[in-house]
């Protein structure tokens, strides 16, 4: 359902512009990994607010539970034990939709209105329009959307668009006990991150930095990383995420090219028939055949 107070700026499989009269402030969630203690309160809050109950998982030797995102798990703490310069570091990343400014899921989606981007930057799935093809998974550079085994719809974090629409912060942010999660305008979040990064640098994390990847025109979920030079250390956070060039061709060049070719063949056939006329058996051949058959 589209939240009336959140204007839609982009809509999947739609070739005409969205209503754009009203301006909205871009929002962002900032995840400060250096302040996260891995308590999973955000995971619980997400389940609570969104009425999600995943299957009880199993222990795979790490704290990750469930083992992966799924249709009932829209955010997931991923734990990495890193040995760096003889020190053990516990890198805990809250994984979930990054709400790309240039969303690969939306670009790939063939169902009109199944994926929308609000003017504030939140990317939302509208399951009532979802056909369950999984193209959003193909398009996503972060491996986030999941198809439900039960209803064959795609699900992911909505950045609590319902809460944001009425001026609340996302449930995960609301519940975070350490202040590792922040929510506000994207500008404010960048400012806050700057302070945090300066603090981390003064404590010896000389490569601390903000993760707001330009390959997807920035994201509306950003990380403060102690080791911004090694995003892959954080459970494989992509270094330079962008929409795959294959998806770019499939959803870009291929479309006008294919339609153009089909239209050209149709018109060429029609006008060929009109200009050249039908290819009929000539009277002469008919006569020859008659003679041959008779003889």
């Amino acid at each position: 359902m589209a939240w009336q107070s959140l204007d839609i700026q982009r809509r999947s499989a739609t070739t005409t512009p969205a209503p754009g009269a009203r301006q909205a402030t871009e929002v962002a969630k900032l995840i400060d990994i250096s302040q996260c203690i891995g308590c999973k309160a955000c995971q619980v809050a997400c389940m609570e607010w969104n009425d999600l109950r995943g299957e009880v998982g199993h222990c795979a030797g790490v704290y990750d539970n469930p083992g992966d995102l799924d249709s009932q798990t829209w955010t997931l703490m991923r734990y990495t034990e890193l040995e760096n310069n003889g020190r053990l570091e516990w890198l805990i990343r809250k994984d979930g939709c990054m709400h790309c400014q240039d969303p690969g899921c939306l670009k790939a989606c063939p169902a009109p209105g199944a994926i929308v981007q609000y003017a504030n930057g939140i990317v939302d799935f509208h399951q009532e329009n979802c056909i369950g093809c999984g193209y959003c998974i193909t398009g996503c550079p972060f491996n986030i959307p999941r198809l439900s085994e039960k209803d064959h719809k795609a699900y992911k974090c909505s950045l609590c668009s319902d809460r944001v629409a009425v001026g609340q912060s996302p449930a995960c942010v609301k519940t975070c006990p350490t202040g590792a999660l922040h929510f506000g305008s994207k500008e404010a979040m960048k400012d806050h991150a700057e302070h945090r990064i300066a603090d981390l640098k003064s404590r010896g994390f000389s490569n601390a930095g903000l993760y707001d990847p330009p390959g997807v025109s920035g994201t509306h979920v950003m990380y403060v990383l102690q080791h911004a030079d090694h995003p892959e250390w954080y459970s494989g956070l992509p270094r330079d995420p962008k929409i795959s060039p294959w998806v770019g061709i499939w959803k870009g060049l291929a479309k006008p090219l294919a339609i153009g070719a089909m239209a050209a063949i149709t018109l060429a056939s029609l006008f060929h028939y009109i200009i050249k006329g039908p290819n009929e058996v000539s009277k002469e051949t008919e006569k020859e055949v008659e003679n041959e058959t008779r003889s």
Binding site: I137, N143, W246, W250, I265, Y273
Partner: protein, 212 residues
């Protein structure tokens, strides 16, 4: 129900049936596939019950088309082996398109264009089957990079195939007396003599004086 006892048998009933199975499933797969390819074709989803049914059914249409085409290919591949005269025919296809077919090289049951079409469609069908399986999330889980590549291959090959089939259909409309071969399996002797003279001689033992 033979109108003229001199008509020539071109296709048996089972050959006609398999061609129609391929043709109908190709159209169903094509329309449902186009609906998922470009928003301009989204209304085609309504032909299949709903957008979700379109997504569910498309791969099965494709599978039916692919398997039926492979059966057809097993029956017909020998007749479609290209020879020197076929390449010569293809080199001069411009004359044919121009409407001057009287000097075209003599053709057997199939001309060079039909044979080339056969091999292109066979190659395309195999690519569509493989790439289609890779992106069929209801049953298979392939690596994401394979899925991405297969998505492009599937769309591109399908577009080429649709173009080829449009040419195939137009050719049968343009060349009068052709479509009846797919309805009831026979063609007139004059049709055969004009368009497939070597096959005409093979079938009737006539027309030797005219051969090149």
């Amino acid at each position: 129900m033979r109108r003229d006892p001199n008509d020539l048998d071109r296709y048996t009933a089972s050959e006609r049936v398999i061609h129609w199975v391929v043709g109908i499933s190709f159209i169903l797969a094509g329309l449902s596939g186009l609906a998922l390819f470009h928003p301009a074709f989204w209304p085609f989803t309504m032909l299949f019950g709903s957008s979700i049914w379109t997504r569910i059914l498309h791969p099965y249409f494709g599978l039916l088309m692919g398997v039926a085409f492979l059966v057809m290919a097993v029956w017909f591949w020998r007749l479609n082996r290209m020879n020197r005269v076929d390449w010569e025919w293809l080199r001069r296809v411009g004359e044919m398109v121009n409407g001057n077919d009287e000097h075209m090289p003599e053709q057997g049951k199939y001309n060079g264009g039909q044979k080339l079409l056969f091999w292109l469609l066979l190659f395309g069908t195999i690519l569509l089957l493989f790439s289609g399986v890779v992106i069929w999330r209801a049953w298979f889980h392939f690596d994401i990079n394979q899925v991405r590549l297969a998505s492009v291959v599937h769309a591109a090959v399908a577009a080429v195939m649709i173009g080829l089939i449009m040419v195939h259909i137009y050719a049968s409309i343009w060349v009068k007396g052709t479509i009846r071969a797919m309805w009831y399996g026979t063609v007139t002797r004059a049709w055969a003599r004009q368009h497939h003279r070597a096959w005409y001689r093979y079938m009737t033992g006539l027309g030797n004086g005219q051969s090149r």
